[in-house]
């Protein structure tokens, strides 16, 4: 690991050098744990928020995290130079948006708090592809919009903009991020895709808005995971067709209209 950057509490950014790992696709994740700590027992899933190839051929990945429990706490407590286990890249990312049939028109990216970590590589990919997107960033408070400046600059490069809301009104409009999303769609923003990552309630609401307005989209979901690579079968996501899919393999990114929210 290269360094741990303390962001405004309770957020943190880990930069990890991984010797042999394929670059992650937008929406893919890695399983990580603190160094030499027997507890908590299982690794934790982290979206690859950012990545760059180092000159020696290794890959440097950035993991944007929020201390919630023992697993994230152990990671935030890592020291620069410590070796930590990394397994990845894992899962299925934002395929249909990045290189799928809907590769035209504008996109809306909707993040709730730390869910922004799951949209980092996607925002970069869209910016590289010159595809315009607006970034909707909601949180409880201003501190939860921890990477607002990054997403403001990326969306701006594509001719789009950053829209913020907070529940306490400390940044952007007071309220939920779905309110300006709906307003923009009604006003004719011309989105052909909406991609979201955040709390379950937010993603369910975005799925509803997308369905009502006939916009396709995807969500990077999250469930408790045992292994992250398809062995434990613990991370079932219930689909509309009544079946289950594994968050770690068929997901974490699913079409908005296939998940039973």
């Amino acid at each position: 690991m290269l360094d741990v950057q303390a962001l405004p509490l309770p957020y943190f950014l880990l930069r990890v050098r991984v010797a042999a790992m394929e670059p992650a696709e937008p929406g893919q994740f890695v399983m990580v744990a603190g160094a030499n700590r027997p507890e908590p027992y299982l690794r934790r899933a982290f979206s690859v928020y950012d990545q760059e190839a180092a000159s020696d051929g290794s890959l440097v990945i950035s993991l944007l995290g929020k201390v919630i429990g023992r697993g994230t706490g152990a990671l935030a407590a890592c020291l620069p130079g410590e070796r930590i286990p990394v397994l990845g890249p894992l899962g299925t990312g934002f395929h249909s948006v990045v290189d799928g049939a809907s590769e035209s028109g504008r996109a809306a990216l909707v993040a709730g708090g730390i869910g922004s970590a799951g949209l980092g590589l996607l925002a970069q990919a869209l910016a590289r592809a010159g595809r315009s997107f607006d970034f909707f960033y909601g949180g409880r408070s201003a501190e939860d919009l921890v990477e607002a400046e990054t997403f403001r600059l990326l969306s701006k490069r594509t001719g789009g903009r950053l829209v913020k809301t907070t529940e306490d009104g400390s940044a952007g409009e007071r309220g939920l991020i779905t309110t300006p999303l709906e307003a923009e769609i009604r006003a004719g923003a011309g989105y052909t895709t909406v991609c979201t990552c955040g709390p379950h309630g937010l993603m369910a609401a975005v799925a509803g808005i997308a369905a009502a307005s006939g916009v396709a989209g995807e969500a990077a979901t999250e469930t408790p995971m045992g292994c992250g690579y398809g062995a434990c079968l613990g991370c079932a996501v219930t689909l509309k067709n009544g079946g289950y899919a594994l968050c770690c393999r068929q997901g974490p990114v699913f079409r908005l209209d296939e998940v039973a929210w």
Partner: protein, 314 residues
């Protein structure tokens, strides 16, 4: 002998478990490594002693609704509900890719009724690539079947006897720890014609989310696995190995070379590694290397010499 003298630094890891001859005593446990093949890129399957498949039923099963797992101190609870592709798809799509690998393939079988175990055993019997069947009579996560067969000695004897008549494959019976005396069930399995016992399956437990004030798992109860259960499992293996005249495969929270040695010393002829694979898919092969290194360093010529040593009088 001359081989030993010529290569004193190369301990013999091979082990005999009843009719099974394994290249080393490290297997992957049922339900912790799928059907093996799908993880060929994440682990070196060639180096395993054996591989026990995810529990197979006659028809594919979708499994339980989420939430299916809950992390606990030193382990986890699971309630997967035997999600699997069904025995026919395993035999047609997976087994061909596994059968020529060095690890022995043990097929874990699960039924809701005795008749289903019999039909499963009949289905796999003609396949040369199946080294043995392991009967799951101790899954805590399905409401009917399974665990009933593993908690009543008379029923278990009858079930094993029926499976015995359906297949010539070695029969492994996986014991439940959720009974007062697992060795009684072990004896019952032997009476029915079992060749090997594996011990133990998960311990029934639960977890409650203090924020929602509700059980974490959708099925309320689940099976506890991981290092937390190791001393409990070790005690059962010790008792079963001493009191039942069948070889035992030890299972329960195994993650380190010392864990492997403890189970061998308690009387296990081999071990299955399970939950530790979730932390690191290379755990099993690491243990093969670590065990070889430990035997070499200790001047111990073979795995065989360790088995049951802790149960012998001083």
């Amino acid at each position: 002998m001359s081989g030993d003298a010529a290569r004193p630094s190369s301990p013999d890891l091979s082990t005999r478990v009843g009719p099974l001859r394994l290249q080393n005593p490290i297997l992957t446990a049922s339900g912790t490594f799928g059907y093996g093949l799908e993880f060929a890129e994440r682990a070196d399957l060639h180096r395993l002693g054996g591989l026990v498949t995810k529990g197979l039923s006659l028809e594919p099963l979708a499994g339980n609704p989420p939430v299916r797992i809950a992390e606990t101190r030193g382990g986890m609870l699971n309630s997967i509900g035997l999600q699997n592709i069904g025995v026919d798809r395993f035999l047609s799509d997976v087994l061909p890719g596994l059968k020529d690998l060095p690890p022995k393939v043990i097929v874990n079988l699960f039924g809701y009724a005795q008749d289903e175990y019999v039909r499963l055993a009949e289905r796999v019997d003609p396949y040369e690539g199946v080294a043995a069947v392991e009967l799951n009579v101790s899954c805590p996560n399905v409401s009917k079947g399974g665990i009933e067969f593993g908690h009543d000695p008379e029923i278990l004897t009858g079930l094993v006897r029926r499976v015995r008549s359906a297949t010539g494959k070695p029969i492994v019976v996986k014991l439940s720890p959720n009974v007062t005396s697992p060795q009684d069930l072990g004896r019952a399995a032997k009476e029915g014609g079992a060749d090997i016992l594996s011990a133990v399956n998960t311990f029934v437990g639960m977890a409650i989310d203090t924020a929602t004030m509700r059980p974490v798992l959708s099925t309320v109860r689940g099976g506890l696995s991981g290092p937390a259960i190791k001393p409990l499992a070790l005690r059962i293996v010790f008792d079963v190995a001493r009191e039942v005249d069948l070889p035992v495969i030890g299972i329960g929270g195994i993650e380190t070379v010392d864990d492997v040695l403890e189970f061998l010393l308690a009387g296990a002829s081999a071990v299955q590694v399970g939950t530790a694979l979730f932390r690191d898919p290379r755990t099993a092969e690491r243990l093969v290397d670590g065990l070889r290194e430990r035997l070499r360093a200790g001047g111990i010529p073979s795995v065989d010499s360790l088995i049951g040593a802790a149960a012998r009088p001083e």
